[in-house]
Amino acid sequence: MKISAIITLKKDVLDPQGKVIHQALDGMGFKGIDEVRQGKYFEINVKENDPTKAKEIVEDMCKKLLANLVIEDYKIIGTQ
């Protein structure tokens, strides 16, 4: 089963890359952007067919390696 997870920087952590992307978009004419935050996206194929269990496994991965919980949040966004 394929599980998707996204990792984003916590709200109060400065995201200089997001800021630069924001400026670039603004310069290209995409006006009216409040903020850009950059994150990471993972697709993990686990050998588990029960969606609840599969999510739990990926959640454990997020806590132990994929995210650094001091600065990042994770979210399981889909199963397929």
């Binding site: 952590v13 400065l14 200089p16 890359q17 390696l65 994929l66 650094n68 001091v70 600065i71």
Partner: protein, 227 residues
């Protein structure tokens, strides 16, 4: 005195550290990241570089490598563990020292000499040093120290800041902060002060004619402290 320098795939300051440690009298051994056992050591050094190509987050993969369990055990039993640059990033990823190292504030790779001011000399690394301001080299893309407010309070309550970025007079004003680090923090200890993580490279300042000798003072003093 015996030291061990750990080599991860992508470490590139491991040999410099080996040269520096031997120059000042350590009997150093190079240890491969995939080994299980740490040789008997008085000091373990996690060197600078780009372990695992900085994949995922700098230091995150190295923090899970085989040798780390024996290093964590060694550190928890009071052993001296020093992480320089990427080694500092590995230390924060293992949780041995608090906080994280973010991308530099202005998104630049910074490679230059900086001055740092020693904040706490009540430890094996800095006690007996007869000066407070040192010129070291930095070369990093992710050296922007950050921690939560709770962690910062704990760091301050326990006097865990090792060194601050400053100018040659020891002024730690924000304008002498090269990378956006919280409060100009360039290096920190764990609570017990046996683990030190810092971005600057003392091993690059060990030859008067090539670079400067502030690193020499640091290593000579360190050896005398742990003798």
């Amino acid at each position: 005195m015996k030291s061990s320098v750990i080599t991860f795939p992508g470490s590139n300051c491991d040999r410099d550290m080996d040269v520096a440690l031997k120059k000042f009298g350590f009997k150093n051994k190079m240890v491969w990241h995939d080994d299980n056992e740490l040789p008997r050591s008085d000091l373990v050094v996690l060197p600078g570089g780009f372990s695992y190509g900085d994949y995922l987050r700098c230091g995150s993969m190295a923090a899970k490598s085989k040798i780390m369990q024996s290093i964590i055990n060694f550190a928890k039993s009071g052993g001296l563990v020093m992480g320089i640059c990427n080694g500092f990033q590995i230390l924060v990823e293992t949780g041995l020292v608090p906080g994280v190292l973010l991308r530099n504030k202005y998104l630049e790779f910074i490679c230059k000499n900086v001055f740092v001011k020693v904040n706490n000399k009540d430890n094996q690394y800095f006690k007996n040093l007869d000066k407070d301001v040192f010129e070291f080299h930095i070369a990093h893309n992710e050296g922007n120290y950050f921690c939560t407010n709770d962690q910062l309070k704990e760091i301050q309550d326990n006097n865990q800041v090792a060194i601050y970025y400053c100018n040659n007079d020891g002024n730690t004003d924000e304008k002498f902060n090269p990378n956006g680090s919280l409060n100009n923090i360039a290096g920190i200890f764990n609570k017990e002060k046996n683990i030190l993580g810092m971005m600057p490279h003392p091993e690059r300042m060990i030859d008067k004619s090539l670079s400067g000798e502030d690193g020499s003072f640091f290593f000579k003093n360190l050896l005398n402290n742990i003798k």
